[in-house]
């Protein structure tokens, strides 16, 4: 009985350590990306859905970030992961190409490959279809629907960009920018202008 209690005690400590380890490691790795990662800006189209546990968010549909030419000849069948090579250009930041083997240097991002779409298209082109591993920007409950409403009504020429911090194949969405202003700040200005 005593041995069992001791064993359960050890298990108790182990569970606590694993839980704290996972939470702590997540915080550390994401903070590191935010601190040391390179910034890239991508055009996005936001929509407003809801998560019962994490609250309201705007879904980000990244423009020009769902297909890119394959940059290596590694067989791509049955691959679920690939690496998007990112680059800064004068027209803006973009995904240059896709690789199926992990790059040793440069800025790249691990993405999910859509195998069915890839299989359909391989015979006609060398294009890889994929989705980015993030598509959410969480906002305060009352702000998310407003943000979506305002963004839907906006002038088509107004650019909405998401800034990503990228480090060693992982990325974190840093902020949403409208005409170079952070979304929350832009919304505040927009509401002030309307009330005047």
């Amino acid at each position: 009985m005593k041995r069992m209690q001791r064993l359960l005690g050890i298990l108790f400590g182990f569970i606590c350590a694993v839980q704290l380890g996972v939470i702590g490691w997540s915080i550390w790795s994401y903070e590191r990306i935010l601190k040391e990662g390179e910034v890239y800006f991508f055009n996005v189209l936001p929509l407003d859905p809801y998560d019962a546990f994490r609250g309201r968010y705007v879904t980000l549909r990244f423009e020009n970030a769902n297909k890119a030419p394959a940059g290596d000849t590694t067989p791509q069948e049955h691959r679920s992961k690939a690496y998007a090579i990112l680059e800064h250009t004068q027209e803006g930041d973009r995904i240059k190409e896709m690789r199926f083997s992990k790059p040793v240097s440069g800025n790249f991002l691990e993405v999910n490959v859509h195998s069915t779409m890839a299989a359909q298209k391989t015979d006609v082109s060398n294009t890889v279809y994929f989705s980015l591993p993030f598509d959410r920007f969480y906002l305060r409950e009352d702000r998310a629907p407003k943000a979506e409403r305002i963004l839907r009504m906006r002038d088509v020429n107004v650019s909405v960009k998401a800034s990503l911090r990228v480090l060693n194949g992982k990325a974190v969405i840093e902020n949403l920018w409208i005409e170079g202003v952070p979304l929350v700040e832009w919304m505040r200005r927009h509401e002030e202008a309307r009330s005047r």
Partner: protein
Amino acid sequence: MSKETYQWLERELPSWVKEGLVSEGSAQALLQRYAGDKASSRSSGTAFSLLGFVLVGLGIISIFAYNWDELGHLERTLLAVLLLVGAQAFAFWVRRYRASDAALREGSGVFWFLMTGASLAIIGQTYHLGGSMLDFLSVWLVLSLGIAWVLPSSGAAFFQMILWTFVWLGSRDEMREVFSSEHSFLSPWMLALLALSWLGFYALRYRKERNAYATLLLGWALAVCVLAVGSVEMLLATYPEQNVRMLSMLFAFFFAIYYLLGKMYFFWGEKSWQRPFERMGKLGALVLVLAHVSFNAGTWLLRFDLEPTRYNSLLGLLLMLLFGVLLILFIRKEQKLPSEILVCAVPIIMLGYNLLHTMPYSAMLFVNASVILGAGWMIYCGIKEVTLGLVNQGMIVIALVIWIHFFNANFDLVAKGMAFIVTGILFLSLNAFLKRRFRGVA
């Protein structure tokens, strides 16, 4: 032993000692023997504690789901860690200093479970993590594994079961649209292994404190989760061929198995709410068979008969074998024809109905005759065993058969209203008559 039975024993023992049936020492030994069971079933405090902690935990999750953007990264991450450490520390304190307080132990387990989810949710929203709800639930499931064991807490195991069921259902390829999710990172084999955790916990509770309310709570969770998983698996097994007849057969076996398991093994007392498997099995079987009594059901099913129905499902074979074994064990145990033979016979009735599908009228007559006979047998047994509940059950089934036919027919509202009034009066008068007769017998 239930609390009521223990109290009855406490009341009876002095007179048994007086009559010399048992000695004073034996009486004390008997009371001591069942005292533990009684203590474990004093659970109204536990129920309120569980409810309280669940509400507090859900409240905290809800408050942080608001996404307070006034809080920076540091504050948010600190909150995530504090919530988790707080829940762990509280559980540790309860385990160390108040281990005998079941209410607090159960509550702290549930609170710890919920705070694990809350911490993950805060991390997710702080760093705008992608991934579906299924990913989030899968991580939560893995991280909260073992909480039920170390305290121990049936409440935490209850939530583990519910969470596991959601993840299992969401991981099925065919359910991805419903949950709008990609694959879970947990493979079916890993999920099956994870299920062993709460199944093992349940088995332990069942062996140690079978009649405790916490074990009954787990029993309900088990019944609901197995029903949910079983229903989805049966639907998926028959969906590609649109094999509705096979589906009805699978459900018939499933509900009959539930009923038999509930009758023989999975029960925690004599009251309805203490018999989740039996009640769910009976209700499911009766609804299934009653859904086939009308002629409209037969004509609706005909549209699926373009291809000959194939009864070649492995799942069907397994269910049939299990049903056969349980039925033999049940009849051996009862030593007579069971009063609720209608529920046990639902798979046979459904098989006959489906085999007669080329003759819709004969099929309908077969199922109607079977239901009326089964319900009639219930009434007969109820009168013989002086059980009013059984008589009423049989009468309700017959009344439902009549009403279904009545509503299918083109009678006007007045006629339908009259049918209700007549059957209502019949019920009332027969009940009054039987009550008087049963009182006479008693």
